[in-house]
């Protein structure tokens, strides 16, 4: 009986809470921007800030934002990419060029009243010193435009990211910037935001093509493009022949494909005498990677002449421990950059080349694109970060590291 009465008590309490909440009204949070005195003058003021933004620098001394002048060359989409062989670059069309053939649905119109004082919510995918730097870069740009900038991080938990998206929608900001935790979860997340009528920019992680229909644009690194460039540099140094192995990124995300099948599909045309011995995904731990590479050396011996790694910090360190132990420091290693450990390895001559991927620039470009949209400018469907291959010759220019 006592138990029943406690259950009833709590049920009544729950109903009371619900009633209170309901009565508390559909308390929509305050609308985004502060009141602008006159549309045109704030738009002008906002446009005037463009130069100041473009002059900003990241922690490594590189310019924070470099707007790309040339458009990426996008080949026409084949009828059925999946049917093509895996080492054909066009097989990966849907992943590599996601966003270029989107059917935009229901995208809000720009209010064209400048970016000053706008409220933006910045949702990343997880906690890592990289995202700390990314948020910092975004904050730098937001400060110039005096935006109300709110960063959120779900720490790699999908349920939490969905919750954050819900809470963000509830706050009715002027724009949401989102890195989806996974390429495949993005469609429904983007659709939810789109249906709430809030402008959305997706960035950093390439998403499933369906998500691109619901966002204004996608900004971020051109992973595939960088790795195609990098693989050519690699192949040239290798003399365009030999057996190579790939240490992959974690499965599921776009880097998993870009940093492994990007080079494979590129080299199948550029250097057909280079062949793949193995590809594995040991995670981002140095000791696991070390064990993997040691075992590769045991298995393949002198046949292995090159290794391509998805990460230039923990994975690269593991690779070099294994190479040093086996006395095989002749193996040519390339990786995706650019962390401090990676740059140190390039400086020491161990890593041959790494890609340049500015963390601060990633966040900054997303915010700048948002500002451009508020300013009423025409936004391309996809905006890339600058591409660059770092080698020993120019690695000094990228110190001190961003994260």
């Amino acid at each position: 009986m006592k138990k029943l009465s406690t259950i009833v008590f709590y049920l009544i309490m729950a109903l009371a809470v619900t009633g209170l909440a309901f009565a508390g009204g559909e308390q929509e949070a305050e609308s985004g921007a502060a009141q602008e005195p006159a549309k045109e003058s704030s738009l002008e003021a906002s446009l005037a800030l463009d130069d100041e933004v473009l002059a900003l620098k990241a922690a490594d001394g590189q310019p924070l934002i470099v707007l790309q002048k040339e458009q990426r060359e996008v080949p026409p989409r084949p009828a059925d990419p999946e049917a093509l062989p895996e080492d054909d670059p066009l097989h990966w069309w849907d992943i590599e060029f996601a966003g270029w053939n989107a059917n935009k649905k229901n995208i809000p119109e720009s209010p064209k009243d400048g970016a000053i004082g706008k409220k933006i919510i910045f949702i990343v995918h997880g906690d890592h010193p990289w995202t700390t730097a990314c948020t910092l870069g975004a904050q730098k740009v937001a400060d110039v435009y005096d935006m109300e900038f709110k960063p959120m991080s779900p720490n790699w938990d999908l349920a939490v990211q969905n919750q954050m998206i819900d809470q963000a929608i509830n706050e009715r900001p002027d724009m949401i910037l989102l890195i989806p935790i996974d390429a495949k979860t993005a469609p429904q997340q983007a659709r939810k935001i789109n249906q709430a009528g809030i402008p959305l920019i997706l960035f950093n992680t390439l998403t499933d093509a369906a998500a691109m229909d619901y966002c204004i644009t996608w900004t971020g690194p051109d992973d595939f493009g960088q790795f195609r460039m990098l693989s050519r540099v690699w192949a040239d140094k290798l003399g365009k022949k030999g057996g190579v192995a790939y240490v992959q990124h974690n499965p599921g995300g776009s880097p998993y494909f870009a940093r492994c099948w990007g080079p494979i599909s590129e080299l199948s045309g550029y250097a057909p005498d280079i062949y793949t011995l193995d590809k594995q995904a040991p995670g981002f731990e140095a000791d696991k990677t070390m064990q993997l590479v040691s075992d590769w050396l045991t298995r393949f011996g002198d046949e292995l002449v090159g290794i391509c790694a998805a990460d230039d910090s923990a994975q690269a360190l593991g690779i070099f421990e294994a190479l040093k132990k086996a006395g095989r420091e002749d193996v040519l290693v390339i990786a995706a950059g650019n962390s401090k450990q990676g740059m140190d390895l390039v400086k020491e001559g161990k890593l041959y080349a790494i890609t340049y991927q500015t963390a601060e620039g990633d966040g900054a470009l997303a915010v700048k694109t948002a500002a451009d949209w508020f300013n009423g400018k025409e936004i391309e469907p996809v905006r890339y970060l600058p591409k660059h291959i770092i080698t020993k010759a120019d690695v000094e220019e990228f110190y001190p590291p961003q994260w």
Binding site: G25, D127, M152, W156, D157, T185, R191, D208
Partner: protein, 328 residues
Amino acid sequence: MIDRYRIFLLFIVVFLFMAIFAPRFFNVFNLTTIMRTMAMNAVVAIGFTIVLICGELDLSIGTIITFSGVVGLGLKEYLGYGGSVPIAILTGCGIGLINGLLVAKAKINSFIVTLGMMTILQGAIYTATGGNSISLSTEDAFAVSDWLSKMILPLITPRVLITIGFIVFFTLFMRRTRMGRNFYMVGGNTQTAWLAGVNTDGYKIVAFIISGFTAALGGVLFAMEGSAATLKLGDTSLMYIVSATIIGGTAMSGGKGGVFRTFIAILMLDVLYNGIILFGLGNEVKIFIAGLILATVVMYEAYAAYKHDKIVGQRAELLKELNTKHGK
């Protein structure tokens, strides 16, 4: 009195704190968000609580969540949700059955069995999907997702309703029916339960099957609402549910606790995390506070037992008599 209703009091305190101090907390949308967030973990925690009451551990629930989400969405294009969802749930039950058999019949420690099963399932998930997450962007998939997340009553969406339905069912089952109360007996003192004629092996197996069932149910519903299944869907759930169950008052030694308390503990934790996000604080604060609460709860119980142990067996009158006799 405080001891028995500790978790309810804690929940009220946290809720009131957030309602008063957290910006934009106390409105229908935010409270509905909280309900939707807790829906998956709450239903999975039912099974975990029952297994814990039996005195065993099920560490594989996180991977069962992911696996059933993957199966449910992956098979949809061949069988539709009407076919793939039952299969996903049956798979969860099957895994629970294997766990239960290994624990009850082969008599291997449940920590070991479920840890091994977790590793096996992780590999199975990646092998089955080839490393790709699954996303369904067709109109009917979105329709199901929208239906599950639509608000039909204030604070209640269909998925929340299903969760609450199961919680009510299992709470009443565990407290009111003889079969439910037998679980407590099996956990409290297995030998005595066996001597009393309760089929302890059978109950343990059923507990694991229920755990597999609720994990699969929670996972597949979550995947349907998000219209996507990632390969790490359930990774964070395990530690979260373990913490919530312990905070809710179910002990690892088995034999006490309850499904409803675990539910309130999960509600409390979700309210807390929601509030922390609203305050704009980072994840380090969230982790830190979660650890503090857990430590406080564990220490509170341990200290109470410690104090109790000190005086147990002592006879106060005898002690007084001895002291006065020897003039101490």
